[in-house]
């Protein structure tokens, strides 16, 4: 079993999703139960479903100096970096610690594959990538982290984590290890995934896409709604930001079961949960809120609901926020980590939008409506294809 870690300060964080740009628009939407899903107006061919699309991405042009990284995914990254003064705080960390002493670890499942798809729709007369998209860097998984590293001028370890829907949760674990070993003093973590045909038609082919706005944990749920998001967090040692909320622990595991369905007893999910609690030095009853993976797929929600029901007391509150944002895939880890941090900051449990009749596997923990209550410790679950699981634990700074 894992041993406790030294908590790290989350000294800055931000998120942009279908709910808006920056923390305040997210808090307002969560508090008032206003979701951000809309009928699909994105895919290159019609597909009847609902999506969590971010407004304003198309207008978020990259600075001329970084024009070689132009693509919709990097525009969303750039838009996201500018919210909540995150860009300034990231540059300040670079100044304080030095460019080589700040790691960059970003999660994404599809990076800028949308630009590759676009290229294939407009191949030139020789069947090659059209001239304006003949930019090798954007046709690779590292496109996002490469762009962000260049735009922030970072020269430390720089890594893309791409483990499907757990990607931008696992970035916290990699960053903690780099800081613990003294290889860096701070880390910028996060993730960005944008809507693209690959995921819309891919999940559709797997018959996992709901024709209506997704309804996590509802008995009548019909599948997922896909969304997009960008989120970032700055991690450093607590003495440098003693009042900031903290990363208390994390857990990572593999199901060893199936490529696209979760372990029926939630073995891997529970291993990740126990690992996170052990590293955080927490007992289950000390957890006030859990942001669930809760995709609204039949299998995930059934398995996850049973895990929460058996592992936590009724005093622990739990909800999926995917009814608000859609499933933002590789960005879900950071988006929902930020929701856990907002829950702590505002003593607010987000409601489980879209659920009216909970699956019978659900325990009394499920919060259907948002609740004002003390939240000092919050977890976030993220599970991905390939049976890849992560659980994050955050806590309020001691008074």
């Amino acid at each position: 079993m894992s041993v406790p870690i030294q908590p790290l300060a989350v000294s800055a964080y931000t998120v942009t999703s279908a709910l808006g740009q920056g923390l305040e628009s997210h808090l307002a939407a969560l508090s008032s139960s206003h979701g951000g899903l809309r009928e699909n107006d994105f895919s290159s061919a019609p597909l009847a479903c609902w999506i969590g699309r971010v407004d304003g991405v198309e207008e978020a042009e990259l600075p001329a100096a970084h024009a070689s990284w132009e693509c919709r995914n990097n525009r969303l990254a750039w838009l996201g970096l500018q919210q909540d003064r995150f860009l300034e705080q990231a540059l300040d960390a670079r100044l304080r610690y030095g460019a080589a002493r700040v790691a960059l670890v970003l999660g994404t499942s599809t990076a800028s594959i949308g630009a590759t798809e676009e290229g294939y729709r407009h191949l030139d007369a020789d069947g090659r990538m059209p001239a304006e998209l003949r930019r090798p860097l954007i046709h690779a998984p590292h496109s996002l982290a490469g762009f962000v590293a260049e735009s922030l001028g970072l020269e430390g370890p720089c890594l893309t984590v791409s483990t499907a829907c757990s990607s931008s949760a696992k970035v916290f674990a990699t960053a903690e290890r780099l800081i613990r070993l003294g290889l860096v003093d701070a880390a910028i973590v996060g993730g960005v995934d944008t809507l693209c045909d690959s995921v819309l038609f891919g999940f559709n082919a797997l018959e996992l896409v709901s024709p209506e706005p997704c309804r996590p944990f509802d008995q009548a749920r019909r599948g997922i709604s896909i969304g997009e998001a960008a989120g970032f967090a700055l991690l450093e040692r607590v003495e440098h930001a003693p009042h900031a909320p903290r990363l208390l622990g994390y857990g990572e595991s593999s199901d060893a079961h199936h490529m696209s369905t979760p372990h029926p007893e939630g073995v891997g999910a529970e291993l990740a949960l126990r690992d996170a609690l052990a590293r955080a030095g927490l007992r289950a009853e000390q957890v006030d809120y859990i942001n669930l993976h809760g995709t609204a797929s039949l299998k995930n929600d059934e398995v996850e609901a049973a895990l929460i029901a058996r592992a936590f007391p009724a005093t622990t509150r739990a909800s999926s926020t995917k009814g608000f944002t859609g499933h933002t895939l590789g960005a879900a880890g950071i988006l929902e980590a930020v929701f856990a941090l907002l829950a702590i900051r505002n003593n607010m449990v987000p409601g489980n939008l879209g659920c009216t009749d909970p699956d019978e596997a659900c325990g009394p923990q499920l919060a259907l409506q948002s609740e004002q209550r003390s939240v000092n410790v919050a977890l976030s679950n993220s599970f991905g294809f390939g049976g890849n699981n992560a659980c994050l634990a955050f806590g309020r700074a001691p008074a």
Binding site: S43, S44, L47, A99, I113, T116, E117, G119, Y120, R121, R128, M129, R134, P136, L137, H139, A140, P141, H142, A145, E150, E155, G156, P157, C158, L159, T160, V161, S162, T163, A164, K170, T174, R177, L181, G182, L183, D197, S198, F201, G202, F203, N204, A205, L206, E207, E252, S253, S254, D255, A256, H257, M259, S260, G268, L271, G384, G386, G387, N388
Partner: protein, 265 residues
């Protein structure tokens, strides 16, 4: 800064020219070597999975299986890091072509095999490994970043770790972008402690602001230049075969790793 010390207990290798590490060593000693079969055997996978698995998975599982077998450790106990610059480029080409012509006909199996962590998924399922598995990427620094991630994981958790770095040859317009003309995979089992199974020890130091030494040299036509993993790993592979030596490789755009390799007498 003190160096990260990790110890190599197993080595896996596959290229069109060499089917394992022994073949590379033999060739470097001037001995004749037979090329492996065109498709990596990936014997760790059950037969039905082996038939269904995409080429990127076969390559990664092949070298992972070799390295773990050499280490004598149980695969189920090893946290694993799978690093690849481009993932499965054949599936990327198929998906982008299909999405451009008939999106509703996209294959669900090829879609779930398209995730960057497909090799990690197949591997952990085949070996019953419930430890953490990761799938990472870092452009032309993909091998060095993988080595840094695996060494960091091994030392922070004080556990042996499996590192698998692989890229298959590309095809179509996306293959032209990656300029990956050959398949190559390389795997290491790294341990935080010396044991009777230690083959070689690595002292890894970070060298920041290493702009010039990391700039790609002009192409010379060598085989390893056609694969991003091979291009990075070739100096370390030679040192492993020789049992000593040092090399510098990219872990990020301007971050170098200096890797000193020693073999205990």
């Amino acid at each position: 800064m003190s160096a990260l010390q990790v110890h190599v207990e197993g080595i896996g290798l596959w290229s069109p020219a060499w089917g394992d590490f022994a073949a590379l060593k033999a060739q470097l000693q001037g001995l004749p070597v037979d090329a492996p079969s065109a498709r990596p055997a990936a014997a760790t996978l059950p037969a039905n999975e082996r038939r269904r698995a995409p080429e990127s998975v076969l390559l990664a599982v092949e070298v992972a299986g070799q390295a773990v077998a050499m280490s004598g450790r149980a695969a189920s106990e090893l946290p694993c890091v799978f690093s690849s610059a481009y993932g499965d480029q054949l599936i990327s080409d198929y998906m982008c072509a299909t999405l451009a012509s008939a999106p509703a006909e996209l294959s669900p199996t090829r879609f779930h095999n398209s995730v960057h962590n497909a090799p990690a998924g197949y591997w952990t399922i085949a070996t019953g490994c419930q430890a953490l598995s990761s799938a990472i990427s870092a452009g032309r620094a993909t091998f060095g970043a993988g080595l840094l991630e695996a060494a960091t994981l091994s030392l922070a958790e004080q556990r042996a770790v499996l590192l698998v770095c692989s890229d298959i040859a590309g095809t179509g317009p996306v293959g032209e972008m990656s300029a990956t003309g050959s398949s190559f995979g390389f795997a290491l089992v790294l341990s935080p402690t010396v044991s009777s199974g230690t083959l070689a020890s690595l002292a890894i130091e970070l060298e920041p602001h290493a702009d010039h030494p990391l700039r790609p040299a002009p192409a010379t036509g060598e085989w390893y230049e056609t694969n991003p993993i091979a291009a990075s790993a070739w100096p370390l592979m030679q040192n492993l075969a020789a049992g000593q030596g040092h090399c510098t490789l990219a872990a990020a755009e301007t971050l170098a790793l200096r890797v000193v390799l020693e073999t205990l007498a």
